[in-house]
């Protein structure tokens, strides 16, 4: 058994009175591709936002490579409002900010592509190298870091070559076709040198051909960059093709987990996905 990269334990995210993620535990092991599926509004993106520190989970803990990214328990207003489980289980508070979490090796893409609009393809990726800099404000301004700067640029170029965006590197990021924008977002995430890559609906809006390309691409980068991947997706072809394991959630709760075959045969998943049947 390979080692754990990401571990979520009893994670609950509650907004006001709404429990978006309910007592979710999951594991992702080194080198795996794991999918998170579930109907719209099931809380999948919220899980991503909790892992990356955009939201501070109400209860539970998250670990990356044995290091605690988050540990929290209901406090303040939530003390009374809390409607999740395992209330007393956690006593420590550790909250890492999104930028710290990225530095520790988690990168992500977004459901609605969030590229840096005013910048070129090249600049979009280059800026993601900023967090691995050794220069400071002074050396960077007065170009005393020219060696590092040159290295950043050549690495960026190399990355763009690998993902097949070298020929459009000077174009405005948002002028690219949809599929390439997705690819660019992944390249940008890769530039932060992650161990764990989170992909939020990478195939949204793609036709079958593009989806197939993407499937191959994800496999490819997993091997090349020695990544562990957690992804959210609605295109079941892609999910079933690519995943080592799948977690299915609905209403923020885990309803099933297992291999693609197991998930496809799971009645709960079928109900949640195709919808409740008339004669239920």
């Amino acid at each position: 058994m390979s080692k754990n990269v990401l571990t979520l334990s009893n994670v609950t995210m509650q907004f006001g009175g709404v429990v978006a993620v309910n007592n979710l535990s999951l594991e992702v092991n080194e080198g795996e591709i794991v999918s998170l599926i579930g109907p719209n509004g099931a809380g999948k993106t919220t899980v991503f936002n909790v892992i990356t520190g955009v939201y501070e989970a109400t209860n539970g803990s998250i670990e990356l490579n044995g290091q605690t990214l988050l540990s929290n328990y209901p406090k303040g207003k939530m003390k009374k409002l809390y409607a999740g489980e395992n209330k007393g289980l956690y006593t420590k508070t550790v909250v890492k900010t999104p930028d710290q979490i990225t530095k520790l090796g988690v990168a992500r893409t977004f459901q609605n592509i969030r590229l840096f609009k005013s910048q070129t393809v090249f600049e979009n990726v280059l800026v993601a190298r900023h967090l691995r800099r050794t220069s400071n404000l002074f050396t960077a301004t007065f170009k005393l870091n020219y060696k590092e700067e040159a290295k950043m640029r050549s690495e960026t170029l190399e990355l763009l070559r690998i993902v097949g965006l070298e020929d459009v590197k000077d174009e405005a990021a948002t002028s690219l076709p949809y599929g390439k924008q997705r690819r660019l977002e992944i390249a940008r995430a890769l530039a932060t040198e992650p161990d764990l890559l989170l992909l939020d609906e990478p195939a949204a809006g793609m036709n079958p051909q593009e989806t197939d390309d993407l499937t191959a691409f994800i496999h490819d980068i997993r091997d090349k960059f020695k990544l562990t991947i957690l992804l959210i997706e609605h295109h079941m072809n892609l999910v079933m093709d690519i995943s080592d394991r799948i977690y299915a959630i609905d209403f923020g709760k885990l309803i099933a987990s297992g291999t693609p075959d197991e998930i496809q045969a799971n009645q709960k998943v079928i109900d949640a996905y195709l919808g409740v049947t008339e004669d239920e």
């Binding site: 990225t102 600049e123 800026v127 900023h130 301004t141 700067e149 530039a191």
Partner: protein
């Protein structure tokens, strides 16, 4: 390779242009009367260019809508003035405060830098609470801070330092710096007399120019890219490992540093300063300069500064003078009309020309050359078609 040669062209041409510019300024100083309107436009214009660029760094490149520029200029202007008023003049300046508390002075250059540092220190302290605020709230909080700073500097209890609500004067102006004296001396050596040469304009250009150059270098560095990322999408920037609080604070402090320096230069230009002049209207004016030039364009801010000053101080002056053509009074022309026309022009730009002069583009020698080439090459086949 192409990239590199383009950079080289830009660098060489820019250097040549700068030398030509400084030489041109020198010739102007030599041949034109120091009271010529052009010098007012050039001096004030270049100082405004610096403060506009510093504001652009924040509003245009980092996406932080801050309206505190006048406050930081005030801090800079006062810091400069307080430390450079000659000791023998202090009794006269601080006549109501027993000659003031500070009994020493610092060299001009050091005082100017100190002006920036003081503004940056204030910015750091202000930034701690307010930089977490979003767009409009940040704007109004920084505007508020500028007003508070203005009140503090006018406070009588601080009179021994700030001279309360009275004028500060007698500090070295643009034409009495060591540099200016040096230029005057050289002129004297060459031509046997100083003539018109004061060195004031050249000094303003060099000081502002160095500052703007540093800002440009910063924007083109990895930090500058991080600022732009924050402007474009805070959430994505944070997900790329950029520490928002830290980078916003850096941009805020640096912007204020240069606003402080421009305040010092403005003090030198005006020869007297008073806290009550640094109102929010001043910040609005600078913001309009930035918008007219193009939010996110350094060269745009510079160009629009000169246009703004030239239009408001010079070109539209005639609108303020009553005029008779053939014995009939031209309608509307009288004191104040200039400003009305001017604000209508500004509104028209804001409404119909939203990108400003430059948009987010920059004017570079290579760019101009390319544009030149393009229009030339494009027009060539057209001509053959016509023929």
């Amino acid at each position: 390779m192409l990239e590199k040669s383009k950079k080289k062209i830009n660098l060489t041409v820019s250097t040549i242009l700068i030398i030509l510019l400084l030489f041109g300024l020198y010739l102007m100083e030599l041949f034109l009367s120091p009271s010529n309107m052009i010098f007012i436009v050039l001096q004030k214009g270049v100082i405004y260019a610096l403060v506009a660029v510093s504001m652009n760094l924040l509003n245009g490149f980092t996406g932080l809508f801050s309206l505190g520029q006048a406050g930081f200029m005030l801090i800079g202007a006062y810091t400069y003035a307080i430390f450079t008023i000659p000791n023998e003049a202090r009794t006269a300046v601080y006549q109501y405060f027993g000659g003031g508390l500070i009994k020493f002075n610092l060299p001009v250059t050091i005082s100017i830098i100190l002006a920036g540092v003081m503004a940056a220190v204030f910015a750091f302290l202000i930034g701690l609470p307010v930089l977490r605020l979003k767009s409009d709230y940040l704007a109004i909080a920084t505007l508020g801070f500028a007003e508070i700073i203005r009140a503090i500097f006018q406070w009588n209890a601080l009179g021994p330092i700030t001279n309360g609500s009275n004028l500060l004067r007698k500090f070295p102006s643009l034409d009495s710096t060591g540099f200016s004296k040096w230029i005057q001396k050289i002129t004297c050596d060459i031509f046997g007399k100083t003539g018109n040469v004061t060195g004031a304009t050249i000094y303003a250009f060099i000081a502002s120019g160095i500052c703007i150059a540093i800002i440009v270098l910063l924007i083109n560095s990895t930090y500058g890219r991080a600022f732009k990322a924050i402007r474009d999408d805070e959430i994505a920037a944070e997900a790329m490992g950029i520490n928002l609080a830290k980078h916003k604070q850096i941009a805020f402090c640096i912007s204020s540093f240069f606003a402080g320096i421009s305040g010092a230069l403005l003090a030198m230009y005006q020869t007297t300063i008073q806290a009550s002049a640094f109102k929010s209207a001043m910040t609005y004016e600078i913001l309009l300069v930035v918008v007219i030039g193009g939010i996110g364009s350094i060269t745009g801010s510079c160009i629009s500064s000169f246009l703004f000053i030239a239009a408001s101080e010079w070109w539209l002056r005639f609108l303020d003078a009553e005029k008779y053509v053939g014995g009939v009074k031209v309608p509307f022309l009288r004191s104040g009309f200039r400003k009305v026309v001017f604000s209508i022009i500004i509104m028209a730009i804001v409404l119909f020309y939203r990108q400003g002069i430059m948009g987010t583009r920059e004017l570079t020698p290579a760019g101009v050359w390319n544009w030149f080439k393009k229009t030339f090459i494009k027009s060539a086949p057209k001509k053959s078609k016509e023929a």
